[in-house]
Amino acid sequence: MKYFVQVDGEEFEVEILEDGRVLLAGQPVHADLVQVHEDLYSLLMDHASYELMVERGEKGYRVLLGGVLYNVQVEDERRRRLLAGRSKPAAPVGDMHVKAPIPGLIVKVEVEVGQHVRADQPLVILEAMKMENEIRAPQAGIVREVRVSPGDSVEQGAVLVVLG
């Protein structure tokens, strides 16, 4: 089976043969991966020893290796063939929900409905762990909704602002 692996946007083709042999971009590599515990893996690749922490998310894997974080998506050849007929998935459209990353208290709301915001512009100030945390816009857009007011307590994951 062939896998197309996106590592921080860079694509690698990894083929795993039925007998366990591994080809990276068509070249054989000697790869031995063993799970140590849940998210912890040991990989020996051409005798080099690596330890990886692998978190599974909705969109793929979040891999930590040697202090560097990699965001990884894996697609196998069957799935790629299935999708080949269709157009490439477009950039995300529709509204973007900005959520509270931790539970806390809304101290201040910095934007109003209808306002244009730049990427990284502060939207809301959330107090948690006794510190004020600025919640910033993940991308540019227009504020469609503001769902919180100063003094509100919010749970983790609560939608604070909707950008369009």
Binding site: M1, Y3, V5, V7, D8, E10, F12, V14, I16, D19, G20, R21, V22, L24, Q27, P28, V29, H30, A31, D32, L33, V34, Q35, H37, E38, D39, L40, Y41, L43, M45, D46, A48, Y50, E51, L52, M53, V54, Y61, V63, L64, L65, G66, G67, V68, L69, Y70, V72, V74, D76, I102, P103, V107, K108, I125, E127, M129, K130, M131, E132, N133
Partner: protein, 497 residues
């Protein structure tokens, strides 16, 4: 020595204090809140008392309850650790009134240093250099005028503050009103007091502090400096001792000033005098932390003095076991604060269950930790869950040792600051010892220079994905035998390139 010591704290510092007591043969009493029932400090202490639900105001900050537990358990001394009640003069006074020894300075010294503006005045009178600034409790209008006189950039600080809370840097008059408002809000929330004051910003500055020990018989010594410039939003992330900016002459001068500062307020027990060290070698009193510091272990590693045991001896009325001339710094120590924060997501605090834990050890490595396998990291408390400290003969050895220790540290289930520290240990400016309080800001502005291995990650991810698919396939065909153990070997020599 004490009959029994109550530790009025939680986390790694409670464990640290309990260990010191055990090593002196003193029984210990832990107190704990609802989520801390299985915490290491509860399990390591001889006795443990439940004091309330998770919020600190209903448990670790309940002076009345803690003193009542001390009486009930027959404890004749209380160690407050850091944070919570450690710098609360009323608590120190309440202990004294209850006939219990507060293991820390007298309430008068806490008060004298606790009010930042009064402390400045006292220090100026004692001939201790201070950063130019304003009086406390100024209005926004006064602040605008004073800032013009001092010259930008300036710092807005909370009169009742500490630990970076209620503190803001301001570069221009336009930013000042917003910074004042934010600082007042934070100060109000954290301390119930929204008074602020201004200070000239020394830039580029290092944050260098001097550890003090004082007994009740008039002896005050210092244990040299700690370099604490690596901070994010005024929170220290990483400390070392000694400092690459301090030579023996400067150490002696800063030490003498720090001793004078302690003497000026009748200080006893352990304390720390924080200075800003300017690029010209001038240093300015910032504040005195009238308690044990988070970063005390780096000083212990280079001086061989066990600061917590010394606190216990001194609080019991003993004479300091060390004279100034006995104190020598040997080698180099570095501490990384391991926090449950995601360095790849703006250091947001992360909770969760510790599913796997493997802490580093071996020569020259010390871990002061509150972690255990199965622990639920609570968002109710400070995100610092452990401290990794290393010692080396030289700074170079300490850095290499810290790298290997960080690489060995495995915490499953909770995101931590470990990758941040790995990055620092490979940063050229850090390795060269070129530090100031803007170090972290610059680090985040630069691209990460750690070697990237995307092809390794790609192969691992493909193998993991294949296994997931295979498992799914096996679940659909229950009669097929599950290969065990979970493993793929591609060892056939034939495929080697």
């Amino acid at each position: 020595m004490f009959r029994k010591v109550l530790v009025a704290n939680r986390g790694e510092i409670a464990v640290r204090i309990i260990r010191a007591c055990q090593e002196l043969g003193i029984p210990t009493v832990a107190v704990y809140s609802e989520p801390d029932r299985l915490a290491l400090h509860v399990r390591y202490a001889d006795e443990a008392y439940y004091i309330g639900p998770a919020p600190a105001t209903e448990s670790y900050l309940r002076m009345d309850r803690i003193i009542q537990v001390a009486k009930e358990a027959g404890a004749d001394a209380i160690h407050p650790g850091y944070g919570f009640l450690a710098e609360n003069a009323d608590f120190a006074q309440a202990c004294r009134d209850a006939g219990i020894t507060f293991i820390g300075p007298p309430p008068e010294a806490i008060r004298a240093m606790g009010d930042k503006v009064q402390a400045r005045r006292t220090m100026m009178a004692a001939g201790v250099p201070v950063v130019p600034g304003t009086a406390e409790g100024i209005t926004d209008e006064e602040a605008l005028a004073a800032a013009e006189t001092l010259g930008y950039p300036i710092l807005v600080k909370a009169a009742a503050g500490g630990g970076g809370k209620g503190m803001r840097t301001v570069h221009s008059p336009e930013e000042l009103p917003r910074a004042l408002a934010a600082a007042r809000r934070e100060a109000k929330a954290a301390f119930g007091d929204d008074r602020v004051y201004l200070e000239k910003l020394i830039h580029p500055a290092r944050h260098v502090e001097i550890q003090i020990l004082a007994d009740e018989h008039g002896h005050v010594i210092h244990l040299g400096e700690r370099e604490c410039s690596i901070q994010r939003r005024h929170q220290k992330l990483l400390e070392e001792a000694p400092s690459t900016a301090v030579d023996s002459d400067l150490r002696r001068r800063m030490g003498e000033v720090a001793v004078r500062a302690a003497q000026a307020v009748g200080y006893t027990n352990a304390g720390t005098v924080e200075f800003l060290l300017g690029p010209d070698g001038n240093f300015y009193f910032l504040e005195m932390n009238t308690r044990l510091q988070v970063e005390h272990p780096v000083t212990e590693m280079v001086t061989g003095v066990d600061i917590v045991k010394e606190q216990l001896f001194v609080a019991a009325g003993r004479t300091l076991r060390w004279r100034q001339e006995d104190i020598r710094m040997k080698g180099w120590a570095i501490e990384c604060r391991i926090t449950a924060e995601d360095p790849f997501n703006n250091f947001l605090p992360t909770g969760g269950k510790v599913t796997y834990l493997h802490e580093p050890s071996g020569p020259g490595v010390r871990v002061d930790s509150s972690l255990y396998g199965g622990m639920e990291v609570s968002l109710h408390y400070d995100p610092m869950v452990a401290k990794l400290i290393v010692w080396g003969e030289t700074r170079e050895e300490a850095i290499l040792r810290m790298r290997r220790a960080l690489e060995e540290y495995r915490i499953g289930g909770v995101r931590t600051s470990i990758p941040f520290h790995i990055q620092v240990m490979h940063n050229d400016a850090f390795i060269a010892g070129r530090l100031d309080t803007r170090f972290v800001e610059r680090l985040f502005a630069e691209p990460n220079t750690l070697p990237r291995e995307p092809q390794v990650v790609a192969v691992a991810a493909a193998l993991i994905q294949r296994e997931r698919e295979r498992r799914t396939a096996i679940r659909l065909k229950p009669h097929r035998r599950l290969p065990s153990p979970w493993r793929w070997a591609a060892r056939l020599e034939a495929v080697r390139p």
